[in-house]
Symmetry: C2
Subunit: 318 residues, 2 copies
Amino acid sequence: MAVRMSDVARAAGVSPMTVSNVINGHPNVRAETRLRVLACIAELGYQVNLAARYLRAGKTGAIGLVVPELDRPYFGQLASRLADGVERSGRHLMLERTGASREGELAAVSLGRLRMYDGVIVSVVGMNVSDLEQLSITAPTVLVGERAGPSSFDHVMMDSVGGAEVATRHLLATGARRIVLLGGRHSHRGVDMQSLRTRGYRKAHETAGAAVDERLVVPVESFDLPSGRETILQLAEAGVPFDAVFALTDVIAMGALRGLADLGLDVPRDVQIVGFDDIAECEYLVPRLTSVDPGNEATAETILGLLERRMVQKGVSI
Amino acid sequence: MAVRMSDVARAAGVSPMTVSNVINGHPNVRAETRLRVLACIAELGYQVNLAARYLRAGKTGAIGLVVPELDRPYFGQLASRLADGVERSGRHLMLERTGASREGELAAVSLGRLRMYDGVIVSVVGMNVSDLEQLSITAPTVLVGERAGPSSFDHVMMDSVGGAEVATRHLLATGARRIVLLGGRHSHRGVDMQSLRTRGYRKAHETAGAAVDERLVVPVESFDLPSGRETILQLAEAGVPFDAVFALTDVIAMGALRGLADLGLDVPRDVQIVGFDDIAECEYLVPRLTSVDPGNEATAETILGLLERRMVQKGVSI
DNA sequence: GTGAAAGCGCTAACAC
DNA sequence: GTGTTAGCGCTTTCAC
């Protein structure tokens, strides 16, 4: 069986409480005792039982990050940045996926796993914030994404409308007139990522006095590489002419780049393209992919700042 | 405060034990009672406290995956595949990174969180297996990677030597004579990824009766995009001629592709390139990146099969 | 079919 | 500076 704190205590000839004090760095332990206890910990290979600690102390030192998918560069890079910050404060980041489905996100939360965390960061793609609120999450929580609306949670939003507007304006300024909105939505009243970025696209057109051909607004089945490529191929096959692409995410932009190459089109001579998210890969593609940076560095800082504040309030700060 | 099982029990007019039986699907509950309890659970928004369950029952339904970095496509895609399989068996996958700072803390304490898992999958890149063994991980554990050597853990290895040999042979067969080994090691006696892939590179040269110019074996500082690019640029600046690149990972291959473009070299006319890992991006680059598939699909299956066996032995299977 | 008792491993609060 | 007591929320065991 696993080594328990009481085993260490017996070996060191002290009480479990003293072992606990040593592990948690409490000052009221004599140096000599501390060393003896540490030696026994090392010798027996003791590790604290986090579950027990949490049950008693109400904190684990773990921060949860819940994302739709584990294999999307944007989330991987966000996770990496957050992990840096989280570790700087002596905690650990643990990543889980929801699978982008609303049920998935609900299951993730309702399974109670989030209660093991001192704090939770949830990327709310495809989930209703009100769903989240009904779950009565008890841990300090920060939402990340584009969904707005009334909410009792802190919410870090990126400026999707503004970013999409900048991207589209850039393309219009360089002479593009028929800009594909790859991953867009026809109805753009929602507060989801697609609707918001579509809104920025339309706004830029309006400002420039340019008309939007609805055939250029093309949804994608999924925000992955195959969808980006196939959607562009289908558009070309349908005979819709275009001279630029604004892709709602860099990943579908990468898929589109492959599709354009398959069509024998040169980027940027025949077709210009701009993405969104500013993932690290953009700088390394040939040719480079221009992308909108939604403020990735600042986002991570902001998230952790808000979370820390909530954790202090809740008394689970380290 | 959070809703406890006893709160639900009181509301439903039963004992906590009955609530527990309902939640865990035990048969000995009358349908009527079950419905009443479920209604109360829903109404109060009750969620089980995983820590308490684990403390008592010894299982959480969570599988941990420990990787070196969260923002590497290979690990993201591995995690995604594993998550599919894990969820199929009614559990959840949780991802953590080890990062570079293995030395920093008391490993014994910092890895204590692994004890909350029913099973753990550890990607042992840059970590000594003997380090791992000293941690006396008690949960069923499967190691993934190229490190071999004696170990008490199940270990899923990819054929790094064979894969690297195939890649190099392919380049030699198409006429390449000066193949850069990007990310290689000069001393290749170790069992780490770099040494093993370097061995395959040398083996292919030997078989083909071709000599290896040691100046073509170039280590990288880190297996990320910037390193791939910079290393190729430095090699060119040093005036070392080459006509092909075998990159030890697809990510540094992508970095190298950018570097080659910066040098005004055309792929594959001037320089051929082959990567390793077969990440999803390869198929979508322009031109496509040829890559060695270390058997990604099969790897995930194998890992989960081994883990399941260990979990059944340990009595933590669902 | 349901419930009472016990205790998983830890730490907060307080005694000594 | 160290130990004692109590109990976090749940489930195992066994009684009814």
